[in-house]
Subunit: 123 residues, 2 copies
């Protein structure tokens, strides 16, 4: 009887620990591939990227990358990639005033098409 | 006359060298986001991922990652990411018999939808 209790207690703790690990420590790579309305090489394009680089300074953003998309199998021309230690840090970034302002003032006006892709990654 | 010839020769060499640098030293991250025909958690799905893991052993493949796609803004469920030192290594991978066989025997039959996205990355 006592033995069964300890086995049940051990199992409960293991399940609880596993659930906690899942929700708090899963690392996320947030990516967005996009195409701008601006001509490639234009001053407007340069200005957009200068504004976007400030996203890298928002707390929680790790490994920020601004890249050229080169596959001919899609129509996007650029991509951003960044990592967050967990979902909470990602949510904080999404709600950060600098990110919200960038989306409203720049992204929605200057981006023609985009796709967001997020991955759970192993450390 | 001779001077013009040498100037032209020098320019040709510079342009050639620049083209070579472009094609041989730009690091590439090749990614593919996809959705399988198999039910999530099925034995068929497990078998597909076991076969896919062998792609990581093809010469030239670096930083191979197999990941769960978690954004609700697209319908894909998984992704692979890998890096190549340059376009030549990427081409070698594409033409490698193990990759060609995987695409024909597994990918084309078991993948419902996918999108390839490739990035030029800074070292």
């Amino acid at each position: 009887m006592i033995r069964s209790f300890f086995i049940a207690l051990f199992l409960s703790m293991t399940i609880f620990q596993s659930a906690m690990t899942q929700s708090t420590s899963t690392r996320i790579r947030h990516t967005v591939v996009f195409k701008l309305r601006h001509p490639v090489g234009s001053a407007a394009e340069k200005d957009f990227f200068e504004a976007a680089m400030k996203l890298a300074s928002i707390p929680g953003v790790e490994n920020f990358e601004s890249m050229k998309q080169i596959s001919k199998k899609n129509n996007f021309t650029y991509g951003f990639s960044m990592e967050f230690a967990n979902q909470q840090m990602y949510d904080q970034y999404n709600n950060h005033p600098d990110h919200v302002a960038f989306v409203q003032e720049r992204w929605m006006k200057e981006v023609e098409d985009f796709l967001e892709i997020d991955y759970e990654i192993k450390e």
